[in-house]
Symmetry: C4
């Protein structure tokens, strides 16, 4: 497919998902710091979700610079990944409204996991159609990365039973780790 167009379409959807979460952040009711402070949990959840999406966009950018060819299969994997990501505003709004609930934290985690699985599907589709870049593309599904993700998810599952909102703290730290850890050369290809 026309890679540039698939990228532009994907980017538009990602950009909208990132910013419609701001719409959920209500204008504080009353001109007081207290009213502003009432939004702190949602603000924090928004902050985490914003940067988790930016992290995944960075990986998507890395993938697409190494993949020469976007097949029909990869396009649909990309759509599934976008659909899962589009549930992020609802999950963020829900945990922001009820941060002390196992249900809302569990739902946030579920969306995160499904979204991650869809990303894996995308990576494998791209590998299958771009065998010449197999080595670079596989970096995103290397065992070290998978194990780390697994540990983060288990940590979330445990934390949810004590302090549910810790779930987004852990996922945020996980994202931060990947932002820092990703090799510097990951920004090299530029076509």
């Amino acid at each position: 497919m026309n890679k540039g167009r698939v990228e532009a379409f994907t980017d538009a959807i990602v950009a909208i998902i990132m910013t419609i979460m701001v719409l959920e952040m209500k204008v504080p009711e009353g001109p007081s710091l207290k009213a502003l402070f009432a939004e702190r949990v949602y603000f924090f959840a928004y902050l985490i979700s914003f940067f988790l999406i930016a992290t995944t966009w960075y990986s998507h950018h890395y993938l697409f610079t190494h993949a020469k060819w976007i097949s029909k299969r990869a396009f649909w994997a990309n759509c599934i990944w976008l659909f899962m990501m589009s549930l992020s505003p609802v999950a963020t709004g829900w945990i922001g409204a009820y941060p002390n609930s196992r249900t809302t934290a569990g739902f946030y985690l579920l969306v995160y996991v499904l979204w991650g699985l869809a990303f894996r599907l995308l990576v494998y589709s791209l590998i299958r159609d771009n065998s010449e870049s197999r080595q670079q593309l596989q970096l995103l599904v290397q065992p070290k990365r998978s194990i780390f993700e697994m540990i983060a998810i288990v940590a979330c599952l445990v934390a949810i039973n004590f302090v549910p909102v810790l779930c987004i703290v852990i996922l945020g730290l996980d994202g931060l780790f990947w932002i820092v850890y990703t090799p510097r050369e990951s920004d090299k290809p530029n076509h």
Copy 2:
């Protein structure tokens, strides 16, 4: 016209339509699975609409890679198609709110049919201005495809009288069929 710019403009509109449907999915009222479960019909309608739009985008991508020239006529057909698609969030929201109503299901079907007719108009406009790609462009309006669409619409009309919400199930299966059935080579041209 500048094909790249028409594509980018179209993609931005399609991306927004796909994602504003998420805004209609309210944050559940209360931190319970029951509150989440109350959204299931809208969620399902959103899922179908999201992938129906993605399917049509895939066809649009196919068309525009084969069409060298976008005329004024084709531009306006494209706008009519976008306008019909822009009614999708309202139709989705309405059937999601009242899934057991013939009226809401009928409206969803009506929007779908008008949107399909506008797509046909776009295909014929492109064929008229790009006779050298006639063969590839015509694939999207081949009799087999038209008959299949017709059958799906009739099935919807019948189903609406018994279980209205079946309408989106049928259209969803129809979309899924086209995702799978579309020849693999449809992703080949990449300019």
Copy 3:
């Protein structure tokens, strides 16, 4: 400036303005044709505004294919034009809610006129910096076109005093006239 980037930025804003008007179209309250019918005025106002924006986009596309150079001055004229256009959803929502009011119709007309003046400013800025395309660019501010616009505005001003909502009908017909009348060759340049 980087013309491609200014175009893409402009297109994203135009696309969002066109589609957020759909958000104003509420999901009908109740599963009846009557509830749907209650939205008819807003629907009609949305239809007109959607195609007026598409018409102006077409002209913008024509301008930018002929202008080689986007100066700082032209960029700011472009921003003023975008700002005026961004008032369109409010004007559309207001006349849709109160179609029998001189105030709402007058406001819609005012936004339309300011938007048109901003477009003129953009055309003159582009002419000043792209003298080699003066002839093609001037087509959009030729006397015939200006007189026609003037007549439409006067007709609106008169109509508002009798049947306010006629204002959008007249502007809609005006837009339709320009869609049809614009010379076929206006789609020729494609860079």
Copy 4:
């Protein structure tokens, strides 16, 4: 990184932030000039925020035409800058709703300052990775500019104690000054 894609992604986010502020401008309640007039403060705040974002976009465009290389570091600085900007709709909505409050004006100023600091971070990241364009990039963080910004912020801090809403007037004038004062040649590079 792929500069074109980072630009397009950034532009989509900026465009959405600029236009979702329109959603906050409610359709006036009632068909009277009085109802329209009740929106005047928000309208004014929206006008200022719209053009402040456009001004910063212009600077971003200048930066990215001079920077050949977008590193991982610059990408994250860009994301922080986008995140700060995304708080603009809430700050604008809040000061629009309560213009006579020191808290809302102070919050608007705080968002503006954080946003400016994030922009500085972006400029320094780009300078570090594009030493060959150091001279052009440094123009945006030259002492003259910094001192001017400092004065504007101090003026805001003073004004907030007397007439809070003056804060956005001062920032608006500050933006206007930079629109006019930016050297004409800033639009020259076009790649």
